[in-house]
Symmetry: C2
Subunit: 400 residues, 2 copies
């Protein structure tokens, strides 16, 4: 038997408990051991529920219990998660977490401490919810030099964009509805401004290259400025609008960006709708591989956490190496990225001026009255933003 | 340093050599060791190529070399692969293969011998080419009771169907072209009759449930009867036509089938075009997860083989358990499967008779002159085939 403890009994934590209970037999068979939740740390009491007798309020009860071999954290945020993770790992207890903030802030350090203490720091659920992506990158794509990762990594924003596209209603209205339905938080900033996706692409990129990519270095734009007119143009150009989190390497340089893109049907990410997440990985031998599934939700995310618990229990006393060194890889300033830009301008803007300004340009007209749009392709972002100023653009989006 | 041997230096074998050479640095970093190809078994000599000095024609040179810790086979077929695999594993050498015939025929036995000899029998490349799917099922979806697997598991047939749909040309013509372009074999039987997909779904289903599902038990239909008229109806019904390999559990019974299906846009498999493969896995906690990528080709398939080599080298002397018991799970006769059927009949057939015969039926008219189609939903296949006889159907397809 293997005893574990849960830190936090909210959406994901209770999902972990539910899966360990409902799928007990399957999990035991695959682990070779029964897994028992011995303690739950939470501020609440959960009186009258099956867990009331195992709830504790003092982390030390868990840390000092030598019987507990895996600590599972689903609280979120940097502290106290970081302190708990360090303490657990130093005691030789594996630490499984869905907490992307913790992983993005302290991944390499926590992996190092896990290694020193012959245990494991595992975080499959921190990116892409239930989609297996961390383990495939670490253990399946090992022969690949990863050239590029393009992800739809935030379910809330993909849900909002999908509904804006289908229903033609404004962003603010769909957001309110999404909040009412539980698909968006009361304070949606982290999702709609792209910060959540940014942390996730930082984690994936770090694992793909084995070095530390800091999320603070990644240029990040959200979806709050997207309008229904943009979707009309997208449709006219046979494209969709997606919030993409992207990273790639070129000529030894590391690039990364989070921003809304117009995506054509030649890219399989264009078919990813609603709360679904997907990650497209391009390897130099494999070509494209895409991982697709539920990017959020109690049970899908908890499923990924439980897959980590199974791995931790199977590897008791044995650190499974994960390459993510402390050494920081500098992400190039986005001014250096070569992009394609979609620009909406008033129809008083001279097309000849646009043609003179951008070397590779195409036009899209007749979609919205009193304006037109152009796409300027293959231009460095720094140059573009300098040059586009004179046109007083109504909207600027990138095109994949 | 870890020494390995390749059995077979054809498309996949030479791809393995190429990846180990080109991505040497990446692979060494992830493995913690350099991997060297010490011997290649092939009938040919490869004079004047970089491998000429390591080519041998006698398997015993490899089997008796204690230095060689991993044997990699990309020959295909049951024998001599089976004899070689048994011999290598009994010597404690891990065996990595892309050979689905070997895996489908002898999977549980070879896993057992690997366990007894503290080595590994690995076969990521046997299903879905370069797509990581075997390892995710074995090590990521561990918390899940898998409810259903639906796959596009054969690139050749998906390529043919995609082009028939786009170009409106007949099957025979596209097949010829596919053969000329190298996307179909000279003898295309295994692909176009569904036998290849059948072995692959048998392997995936066995791993999903940990017991042995025999491919011979799976009802299998190919794509040779698909006509351009079928695509016209599919378009009218907003669907595509895909060769699906499916398996699922219901009320403790195991079902599986390989057949062409009409697939609607609500299923992400409908977007999978050309030689791409994709596998949709439904878990009871996770919901849907889809794995998508290059299902064939030298380098993608070789990439999956190399991921196995890396795992074998990292786990030298340590058998990583894989649940696939010898015990056979009987697949229900397809007569018991409840399906939806698309049927094309002459317009001389009375619609009233059709309505009287099938309880849940809808019609599709005006697509092809002198005929119409109907969809009979939710009917046991045995009953359906008995009842449909009287209508002298021009075509029968399943609908997802």
């Amino acid at each position: 038997m293997a005893s574990i403890a849960l830190l936090g009994y909210g959406t994901v934590g209770s999902g972990v408990y539910e899966i360990l209970t409902k799928n007990k037999e399957t999990i035991s068979k695959k682990t070779g051991k029964d897994i028992t939740v011995k303690r739950i740390l939470d501020l609440r009491e959960f009186k009258g529920t099956p867990v009331e007798n195992i709830v504790v309020h003092d982390i030390n009860v868990i840390l000092e219990d030598d019987d507990i071999e895996v600590v599972v954290e689903a609280m979120g945020g940097d502290e106290p998660a970081y302190t708990y993770a360090m303490a657990a790992l130093k005691k030789g207890k594996s630490y499984c977490t869905s907490n992307k903030v913790l992983v993005a802030n302290h991944g390499p350090e926590l992996l190092k401490v896990a290694k020193e203490n012959n245990c494991n720091f595992l975080f499959e659920a921190s990116v892409g919810g239930g989609i297996p992506i961390i383990r495939p990158i670490n253990h399946s794509l090992t022969p690949e030099e990863i050239l590029e990762i393009d992800g739809i990594l935030n379910g809330t924003t993909n849900y909002i964009l999908t509904r804006m596209n289908k229903e033609g209603l404004p962003y603010s209205e769909i957001l309110k509805d999404a909040q009412a339905l539980g698909f968006a938080e009361k304070d949606p900033t982290a999702d709609v401004e792209g910060f959540d996706a940014c942390r996730k692409i930082a984690i994936l990129t770090s694992l793909a290259y084995g070095k530390n990519v800091k999320f603070e270095d990644i240029h990040t734009e959200g979806i709050t400025k997207i309008s229904n007119e943009d979707f009309k143009y997208a449709e006219a150009m046979n494209k969709g609008v997606k919030l993409l989190a992207r990273s790639w390497r070129e000529d030894g340089k590391q690039y990364a960006i989070v921003a809304p893109y117009m995506v054509g049907e030649d890219c399989p990410l264009s078919f990813v709708s609603g709360v679904i997440n997907a990650i497209l990985v391009k390897g130099n031998m494999l070509g494209d591989a895409m991982f697709y599934g539920s990017g959020a939700g109690s049970l899908p995310t908890a499923s990924a956490v439980v897959s980590d618990i199974v791995e931790a229990v199977k590897n008791k006393g044995n650190h499974v190496p994960v390459l993510w060194e402390d050494e920081v890889v500098k992400v190039c300033d986005h001014a250096e990225i070569v992009s394609n830009f979609f620009v909406r301008v008033s129809d008083t803007v001279s097309k000849d001026d646009v043609k003179k300004t951008f070397s590779d340009v195409s036009f899209c007209e007749g979609v919205v009255p009193s304006e037109y749009a152009f796409v300027a392709s293959g231009i460095k972002e720094g140059d573009f933003y300098e040059k586009v100023k004179v046109f007083d653009a109504k909207q600027i989006l990138r095109v994949m």
